[in-house]
């Protein structure tokens, strides 16, 4: 049994069958990559996992509990954090505040009315956020306006914010899309370090083969809304079906 079990999931948008018979099992403490050509249904599948979309058929179980019908914030509180393709951070807030919010969410849950105490007096939250920024090598940017950071730093911050919630499963949606080579390599190193040091499962959707083969323990290839193969990286490279569907096009 994997920590995430996707069974017979199907999703239709009008005349388009975006997903059909998707079966996927993500083992605990592994890095599982989902790859596939454009329009293969990768993002649709991801949205089904985090509660943004509800599949028409099938089931999605996280740690033995169904996530279907739950709201995104409830699924997040179960232990699934998501990193977006374009970094979603609180751009109008400072870097420190960005990091404090997930710490509050972890400690206090989805809603708590704490309107009188000063947030800087919450010692445990401040310490945790500072430690997390230290881990992300951003301690010097603490008081910066989040919007004024570089793309790579925003990505780091977003990943750090997700980790501050101590999730059991981290979902990444093309985390290096639109990044320069140097930033891409930094992100790969960061993710490797996270996978090695933390008790965490990572599921990653990616286009960049360099990223996928550097990180993944296991790869699922999605084509036209349905899984083609699921195997170890070295077997995927040599698989003729995968070449035809995907690798062949890009060389």
């Amino acid at each position: 049994m994997g920590i995430l079990e996707v069974k017979d999931v199907g999703k239709r948008f009008g005349g388009l069958q975006a997903l059909s018979d998707v079966n996927l099992s993500v083992k605990e403490n592994t890095v599982h990559a989902i790859i596939g050509p454009n329009g293969a249904g990768k993002s649709t599948l991801l949205n089904c996992l985090v509660g943004k979309l509800i599949p028409d058929t099938g089931s999605v179980m996280f740690d033995g509990q169904s996530v279907l019908g739950r709201k995104p914030y409830e699924i997040n509180q179960m232990g699934i954090s998501r990193v977006f393709q374009t970094p979603e951070i609180f751009a109008d807030l400072s870097v420190m505040e960005n990091m404090m919010i997930p710490c509050f969410a972890k400690r206090d849950g989805a809603f708590r009315m704490h309107a009188i105490e000063n947030m800087h007096n919450e010692k445990d939250i401040v310490e945790k956020a500072e430690a997390m920024l230290e881990d992300m090598n951003m301690a010097d940017k603490k008081d910066m306006h989040a919007a004024s950071m570089s793309r790579g730093d925003k990505r780091r911050l977003e990943i750090g914010m997700c980790l501050a919630q101590e999730p059991r499963l981290l979902l990444l949606d093309e985390p290096t899309a639109g990044m320069a080579r140097a930033d891409t390599n930094n992100t790969i190193d960061l993710l490797k370090q996270i996978a090695d040091e933390r008790d965490i499962t990572i599921a990653i959707i990616e286009h960049d083969m360099h990223v996928v083969f550097s990180l993944a323990d296991r790869i699922t290839v999605l084509a036209q809304g349905t899984p083609l193969v699921e195997d170890d990286p070295q077997n995927i490279r040599g698989n003729p079906k995968v070449r035809e569907a995907y690798l062949g096009e890009t060389g």
């Binding site: 985090v50 709201k71 995104p72 914030y73 997040n76 509180q77 954090s81 998501r82 977006f84 979603e88 951070i89 609180f90 751009a91 109008d92 807030l93 505040e97 404090m100 919010i101 997930p102 509050f104 969410a105 972890k106 206090d108 849950g109 989805a110 809603f111 708590r112 009315m113 704490h114 309107a115 009188i116 105490e117 000063n118 947030m119 800087h120 007096n121 919450e122 939250i125 914010m161 919630q165």
Partner: protein
């Protein structure tokens, strides 16, 4: 001090000095001078500064922090006024009964309206709140006449029960004997200062409400509200449910509005449906934007600014203008008066509109941004002079 950092404490002290010293600070011109008409230190206007200041501070907690633009906050103002007048009618003229009730009923209304309206965001939210406010206005104006006394407005009659009314009790609103409409006047040289009980009552409440707003702004709750405005998607995917946060902000700002409405009735024991009209809702939006959305002091400044111009510009008439421009040749004098005429008296809205446009275009951060730019200009000039002073010997 009191759980605030240095900067906030300084701000609080400034507000306290302005609020308590207003009767003197707003009366800079001697009574007999030609400029006396620009004095704002009379009770009626100062009360409005304080009351609309409270209204705008509360509105800013919703609009400034969460970004949800409500176009229906005047409904809570009206609810607050009606609550207070009803307490006059049933119990007695002590405002201690009415004001808490005003806050509670406005809060209950806000909970109801907010719960429904917050299902949508952006323009749809604004339209929903506007619809609710207009509904409340029409209910108050006609359908609910037994409660609101319709277009006549709710007021106290001698046949009302007033069960707690004592034999020697004042026959107008008071706070444990402190009669709101009584003032003491002090003449000093050419100046005359009016210290009004009602104004000071409002000013003290304004200070308390301002302090409360500071605490909310600096709290984890305040940060969550700013997070809603900044990125609702990230908020949801960080395991936070934005709706109860936004609803709590809506209810708190509704309670501020209810308190402001209650204070209006505490100054003048009347409540009319027109207080709930959409123009009143729009006014508080103008105040907040003009002063500086999302800043602490901005809404208070905006409220003061608008109320000042409303009173002063609307008082100026053609005769006064002719007096000012009498030094010009006759034809030119008439021409200048003709040009300025539409901007004064009843036309003061035109002036306000132009001022509002200028502020929004050139100072998107409102009056607060204007102040900051001014400060930067002054300090950078100082730095320059310091630098030249230092570098000169080296050369």
């Amino acid at each position: 001090m009191l759980g605030m950092n240095k900067k906030d404490t300084a701000l609080m002290i400034v507000v306290a000095i302005l609020a308590l010293g207003a009767p003197i600070l707003l009366n800079p011109f001697p009574t007999e001078s030609a400029m006396a008409q620009f004095n704002a230190g009379y009770p009626d206007l100062m009360q409005r500064f304080a009351i609309f200041g409270i209204f705008a501070i509360g509105f800013n907690i919703l609009f400034g922090l969460t970004g949800y633009l409500s176009f229906g906050h005047a409904a809570f103002l009206g609810v607050g006024s009606y609550s207070v007048v009803w307490m006059y009618k049933l119990l007695d003229y002590n405002v201690i009964w009415g004001l808490p009730l005003a806050v509670v009923t406005a809060g209950a209304f806000a909970l109801l309206i907010g719960y429904v309206s917050l299902r949508r965001s952006g323009i749809y939210f604004s339209i929903l709140t506007l619809a609710f406010a207009q509904m409340s206005f029409n209910l108050a104006y006609s359908v609910l006449t037994p409660i609101t006394n319709g277009e006549t407005g709710l007021q106290v009659y001698t046949k009302d029960p007033q069960v707690l009314l004592g034999a020697n009790e004042a026959n107008s609103p008071h706070f444990f004997g402190l009669v709101m409409n009584s003032s003491s006047k002090i003449a000093m040289g050419g100046w005359e200062f009016t210290f009004n009980n009602g104004y000071y009552f409002c000013a003290v409440i304004l200070m308390v409400m301002f302090y409360l707003a500071i605490r909310i702004f600096r709290s984890p709750f305040g940060m969550m509200l700013r997070a809603i405005k900044s990125n609702n998607t990230r908020m949801t995917y960080t395991g936070l449910n934005p709706r109860p946060y936004a609803l709590a902000a809506f209810v708190i700002s509704g309670m501020y509005a209810g308190l402001a409405g209650g204070l209006m009735a505490a100054m003048d024991p009347l409540a009319g449906a027109e207080r709930m009209q959409w123009t009143a809702s729009g006014e508080v939006v103008l105040m907040t934007i003009l002063g500086g959305t999302g800043t602490l002091i901005g809404p208070v400044l905006g409220a003061g600014f608008i109320k000042y111009f409303e009173n002063i510009f609307s008082k100026i008439n053609d005769n006064i203008l002719h007096g000012w421009f009498s030094f010009l040749p006759d034809g030119l004098e008439d021409f200048v008066v003709f040009i300025i005429h539409p901007f004064i008296g009843k036309g003061w809205h035109l002036t306000l509109g132009i001022l509002f446009m200028l502020v929004v275009i050139f100072l998107p951060g409102g009056l607060v941004e204007g102040g900051q730019r001014l400060k930067k200009l002054v300090t950078s000039k100082k730095d320059d002079s310091n630098n030249t002073a230092k570098t000169e010997p080296a050369e």
